[in-house]
Subunit: 466 residues, 2 copies
């Protein structure tokens, strides 16, 4: 399929034909699948395609769209239509959409909302962007403990026919304070005459409006819930957080973590939707910081210039030695960062990790050092003629010994800093994934060179070096 | 709290005291929280602690424990007790436990199961380890479309009082073939006299026993379900896959992905539980491969030895230039791997990515090149005395120009290989995260050196070089 074909279908308003192009059958098409197609359309086509849907489908589809496409659509359609869509989607989807707007965009969009939604938005948008308040659904089903199961079912049928979160119902007192939560199946699986009070287990896990999204993810995982009640400081139930929104947060978090670990500031939009200069800005920052700190390697090399002048052969192994330090450091950092992210490890156990990593570094260093030693020896046999430029010179065995001990030192240093820096950052409440890469890279590279040349100075003294 | 204190509590069998040590109140203690504590206990203490629980709690706790601890417990307790626990936990938890056993361990454990569980296990363990068959719960609630809602509720109360997955019920025909699924709330929210047939929507998403766990994760995310029915090839409903198990798969997948990207073979157990030599083995593999391929850098440097002999100043910038190539490469690789993992990007769009990354590389290269040029110029002014060893020599401006152009070339090469290698690997159905790091690192380092010395040879010809 070509972009041209797609454009043609869209210009004709032929959405069904468009779906067929993507190999989809329009009847069984789910909103999430349609949204996937939208992700690959240019903005103008996405808006056109959206407008060709019947109104009912627009409302179902809208929450699944990428936030950038959502913004573009709302700014392009009429005020009446925008108002209709925004007031019809569920309250958590609305809130998430509004959370991505800023300044004038936001205040303009708030005008589209009805009084109830406007009030809720004004209230919840006052909470920090990272709090669960920004994700909650304010429509939920409540019961009181005095009801019988039969009465409860009639109540639910009457007032909560289309609550998104109705797999779980909430028992509240007459001030709206949370008393218990229970799966709706408990109503079905118990005799209709029993009272709600009798089937309560009195145990619930709740979140506070101010809790962070990260806390929510942790609690969801720990308790395997599909939805959690969210209350204010007075325990009044104000909303429900559903697992699907948390899954999105989790995915976003993983993306950010991986991007930061790879040395990129995390992107706001998908890669394919990020404008070119924004992409450059996100990358240039870290790249420049890394570059400036790596300049220390030049300084370090300059410091050993007399050694280099005397034994140019030393320079040949610089890349090999640096990369070994870097690789062992990034291995250790990966293991420790991930173990801390999964709560398998806390900074308290640094001493355990240190002993383990020093020993690992020693073992791995001996392995690589031996390989390096063998490499130089074999090379020497292959290029034994004195005037072969590949020949490492008459003191080749001393060079080999230097490389052997340097690799041990550098790999140990790599594993040690790779494992300790994330722990130290975590201790000081800095996200270990964010900042480890540049620290580890710089430390290992610069110190690696110093280790290498110092060992060389000791071993080669009186032979290659003065 | 010290390990000694913990040991003392365990020896006394004082589990409540143990919980208090961890700052937990035993009354509100959830199995997942207890499991978290177990993760930090040495094996012998974990077994002792487990044995001091009342039987009911053992059964609730067991599924939450780490697979290694589970194995140790089952091998330590009596056959009767093991049999009791394994036959009481839910069928998906049992299956997941059995999936972690091999050979004699597995056949021995199968002997502990009752006939029904043994048969189910024999059947499902025949499916590939990566298939959803290994995760399903074989207890689920079914209805037929002829029932009224009232009859359905009575049926559920009678036969499915404690189905784990009873938030969703399944409509089947008299051969057990799947007809529809519906949330149990639909029974509550409709009039009791209506027929199941009338409240069916006829739309369901299902999995096949042979589908991979990865497929399941994708489908769960796409359709926001809390459980999915799993059928055989004849559409007969055989089990249900719940979202919590999929979350675990997802987390495992993310861990593997990150570990592989960091150049470690993925660990089977948590870092703190992995035996030392197993940890070394997982790390040594990639480290050796990387080391051997990085040896090419020594070969490349050797190839340019005459240039190095003539202009030792060139060696000073080798680490800086190598690391810039590596950093820009890992940035590009991170962005592309993640975008493909989130289905934002497919290999089909390689040409779009290539144009974008060449342009990004050029821009970023010019930025770093300029910084490098400035660094050399300033350095020169600070160390202007001819005999200062830090002085870059009379042709310093040509060295600066060399560094400028080399950085542009190397950063472009880094972004290009960092972005294209994952796409090529994906095209050939190799996991892009697995293999990118070593390929990108080697390619960028070795080729980077060649680019640097070639540019140097051109620019410095007739001055520093012959």
């Amino acid at each position: 399929m070509t972009l041209k074909e797609i454009r043609k279908k869209i210009l004709k308003g032929d959405i069904i034909g468009l779906f067929r192009l993507f190999g989809k059958d329009e009847k069984s098409m789910q909103p999430s699948e349609v949204a996937q197609i939208f992700l690959n359309l240019p903005a103008s086509s996405a808006i056109k395609a959206f407008q060709s849907f019947p109104e009912k489908n627009k409302i179902t589809l809208f929450p699944y769209l990428d936030s950038l496409v959502q913004k573009q659509i709302i700014s392009e359609i009429t005020k009446e239509e925008a108002s209709k869509i925004l007031n019809s989607i569920s309250s958590d989807d609305l809130l998430i959409f509004l959370s991505n707007l800023k300044g004038v965009e936001l205040s303009g969009t708030l005008e589209y909302l009805n009084e109830k939604n406007k009030k809720a938005a004004h209230n919840l948008l006052g909470y920090p962007k990272e709090s669960v308040a920004r994700l909650i659904n304010t429509e939920f089903a409540t019961l009181t403990k005095e009801m019988t199961i039969d009465e409860a079912m009639i109540h639910l049928r009457k007032y909560h026919r289309d609550s998104e979160t109705a797999n779980i119902v909430y028992v509240v007192d007459n001030e709206g304070k949370l008393v218990d939560d229970m799966p709706i199946r408990r109503l079905v699986l118990n005799e209709p005459g029993r009272k709600i009070e009798d089937i309560m287990d009195g145990f619930y896990v709740k979140l506070n409006l101010n809790d962070s999204k990260e806390t929510a993810v942790t609690i969801f995982k720990q308790y395997d819930r599909s939805a959690l009640p969210v209350t204010n400081d007075k325990n009044v139930l104000l909303g429900v957080l559903t697992a699907d929104d948390v899954l999105d947060v989790e995915e976003e978090k993983n993306t950010k973590e991986m991007q930061r670990f790879g040395g990129v500031e995390s992107l706001e939009y998908p890669y394919v939707k990020t404008p070119f200069f924004s992409l450059i800005r996100k990358r240039a920052g870290w790249l420049i910081i890394l570059f400036l700190s790596e300049m220390l390697t030049t300084t370090a090399m300059g410091h050993f210039q007399s050694e280099l002048d005397a034994a140019i052969v030393l320079s040949l192994f610089v890349p090999l030695i640096m990369s070994s330090g870097g690789n062992s450091g990034s291995q250790a950092a990966t293991l420790i960062i991930r173990a801390m992210a999964l709560n398998e490890l806390t900074p308290k156990r640094w001493w355990y990790v240190m002993r383990r990593e020093v020993l690992s570094g020693l073992t791995l260093g001996i392995i690589l050092g031996t390989l390096g030693f063998i490499r130089i020896t074999i090379w020497q046999q292959l290029h034994w003629v004195d005037y072969d430029p590949q020949h490492h010179g008459e003191y080749w065995y001393l060079v080999a010994v230097t490389v052997f001990f340097s690799l041990i030192g550098i790999v140990m240093w790599g594993t040690l800093s790779g494992s300790m820096i994330p722990i130290i950052l975590k201790k000081f409440k800095v996200d270990p994934a964010t900042s480890s890469a540049p620290f580890v890279a710089t430390l290992v590279d610069v110190t690696g060179l110093v280790i290498y040349f110092t060992i060389a100075a000791i071993i080669l003294k009186g032979t290659l070096l003065k």
